[in-house]
């Protein structure tokens, strides 16, 4: 197990390093002169030179990278040009929207997908299985932002039950915040749930064909115990892998749903920053989201150790 852990930690650190290089290269190196990108072509050379010096762009690129990375590791992602406040603080201020949205969408995804996938697998090639597969096939085809628009059309425009967007915050208790995130979380989680249903079904089906399941049934173990004890736990590794990847995708997908429902989260922060050419904010948000995705994947790798003893004794 120690070898497995060492390899995963090394890979995790290396991946984070490459992510930081990518975020740095795209913003600092590709455009040629980021100061010109920020200020536009019509500004006098003196002002451009001043911004270049204040951003440290007059030093060699490897030096800039090392300094930038050192600051980023201490949580200093630079200062927003538009708001003149630290990018880290801006990101933190938007997390109370993006994080609960992602968590609620993930909760919906897991609550809907795993029972449905399990049901489909245990009713293989019967009506329930085909119905679950049709729902999942439709779910994968419907873009989350369109589903969001349809939900607004139904619940806000026609029924008048919900507002079409905006966020009520957490100051007045849990419910106003949760209510603002219900529709976007459903729209966000629906697509990923459709993917997870298929993964769950195929993973459970694989395990159900194993000899030990047949043996358990032959010994007269009750079907419920066969599914809960022998099947589900062994089927969890592939399900968890897919769910882990999807958690990252939910975080990225929240950017688009925030736009549909006018939620002041990380995605909106980045989109507004693009219009304002606020490069440090765009860089900070993308670095933060990409790193979060990698941390989630790493956490899933670590969970394998808990779930699958074979990895522990490898």
């Amino acid at each position: 197990m120690r070898r497995y852990l060492a390899r995963r930690v090394a890979a995790f650190v290396a991946t984070l390093f490459f992510v930081s290089v990518l975020a740095f290269v795209v913003i600092r190196v590709l455009p040629g002169d980021p100061a010109l990108v920020i200020l536009g072509p019509e500004v006098s050379p003196e002002i451009v030179a001043r911004l270049r010096a204040s951003m440290g762009l007059d030093r060699p690129i490897p030096v800039q990278y090392v300094e930038w990375l050192g600051r980023a590791l201490r949580g200093d992602l630079g200062v927003s040009i538009q708001y003149d406040v630290p990018v880290g603080r801006l990101i933190l201020s938007r997390l109370p929207v993006t994080l609960p949205l992602t968590v609620m969408a993930a909760g919906f995804m897991i609550a809907a997908a795993i029972p449905l996938g399990l049901y489909a697998a245990t009713h293989h090639r019967r009506t329930g299985d085909y119905a679950a597969m049709v729902v999942s096939q439709l779910g994968i085809a419907v873009p989350s932002f369109w589903l969001g628009l349809l939900l607004i059309l139904l619940f806000s425009v026609h029924l008048g039950w919900m507002r079409s967007g905006g966020f009520d915050g957490w100051d007045d208790g849990l419910w106003p915040g949760v209510r603002s995130l219900l529709l976007p979380a459903f729209a966000l989680g629906f697509f990923q749930a459709a993917v997870l249903v298929r993964a769950t079904r195929s993973s459970v089906l694989d395990v159900l064909r194993e000899d030990y399941v047949r043996t358990a049934r032959a010994k007269g173990v009750r079907e419920r115990a066969v599914i809960a004890k022998h099947t589900l736990r062994n089927a969890m590794i592939p399900i968890l892998t897919v769910a882990g990847i999807q958690l990252g995708q939910l975080m990225a997908g929240s950017i688009i749903l925030e736009s549909v429902f006018a939620l002041p989260g990380l995605g909106r922060l980045a989109l507004v920053a693009i219009t304002a050419r606020d490069l440090p904010v765009v860089q900070g948000v993308t670095l933060f989201v990409a790193s979060s995705i990698i941390v989630i994947n790493f956490a899933v790798d670590m969970l394998y150790v808990v779930l699958d003893p074979r990895i522990r004794y490898d």
Partner: protein, 274 residues
């Protein structure tokens, strides 16, 4: 011939082919004919519901939505083909190097692939758009990059498996050089899963393009893109609900058809997984 026979009997595959052919036909026809000019505006007939003159209604500038949905198919196909092409080309190259050379090259390339996987298309698009002007090119590149890891891992996996197979070892023993081993012996044997991967990536590219266009990071007005049309429709949901329904339905139907095609193709080319 067994493959063709199996394909023609596979309901999912046949359905997928039919929907895909309809998409291609719609896109092809829209290049020479649409019921109205997709860019021509008419303030008098703005935000109309479906009528005989405009079966899908009109948008906020009075443009015919059916014509714009038809022309939008061209954008979707173009983005799909180019983004998958970018992802496949770079991914196959990296996967080949990684799987064939192995060792530290494999280790470094796989870490880069892990890092790229941390950048979903939407993040790459955000980064690129912050630096360059938003447009369809940026979305194609961003989506293409997001596909690289899947193609790279698939190719690498196939290479690792095939490298030790007897026909490769035999070719090597007979004096075949690296280039011949890779391009004549190993790569052709990885084609089936790569084709399936390309087919399943295609609808993902269409969804991603629509999402980026919706955010204003992809296709720019006045060109018709399904995602962009949905962005415009959002402002008029209460006045003209059909404005949001048709472009979204076009995306869903296309993605459904392509997913069915991908699933069917996988079953047909690799019956073991069916």
């Amino acid at each position: 011939m067994a493959v063709t026979r199996r394909a023609l009997r596979h309901v999912t595959f046949v359905l997928g082919v039919l929907v895909t052919l309809s998409l291609v036909a719609t896109a092809g026809v829209s290049l020479v004919w649409t019921p109205a000019d997709p860019l021509s505006q008419s303030i008098d007939s703005r935000l109309q519901g479906p009528t005989s003159g405009h079966p899908f209604g009109t948008d906020q500038y009075g443009r015919d939505i059916l014509s714009r949905v038809m022309r939008g198919a061209v954008v979707s196909i173009a983005v799909g083909v180019i983004a998958v092409g970018i992802g496949a080309t770079i991914g196959i190259l990296i996967g080949t190097a990684s799987g064939y050379i192995g060792g530290w090259v494999d280790e470094v390339l796989m870490r880069v692939i892990d890092a790229v996987q941390g950048f979903p298309a939407i993040l790459s698009a955000l980064l690129f758009t912050a630096v360059f002007a938003p447009g369809i090119g940026i979305s194609m590149i961003a989506i293409g990059i997001a596909f690289v890891p899947a193609f790279a891992r698939l190719t690498r996996g196939s290479f690792l498996e095939l490298r030790a197979r007897e026909f490769v070892v035999a070719a090597h023993a007979l004096g075949a050089r690296d280039r011949r081993l890779v391009f004549r012996h190993i790569l052709p044997n990885t084609l089936a899963p790569l084709i399936v991967q390309a087919t399943t990536s295609f609808p993902v590219a269409i969804l991603a393009e629509a999402g980026l266009a919706y955010l204003g990071l992809g296709t720019q007005p006045p060109h018709p893109s399904w995602g962009l049309m949905l962005k415009e429709a959002q402002n008029f949901l209460s006045q003209s609900p059909s404005f949001a329904v048709f472009p979204g339905s076009a995306i869903a139907l296309t993605v459904l058809g392509l997913n069915l095609l991908g699933d069917g193709l996988r079953d047909v080319l690799d019956p073991k997984t069916a």
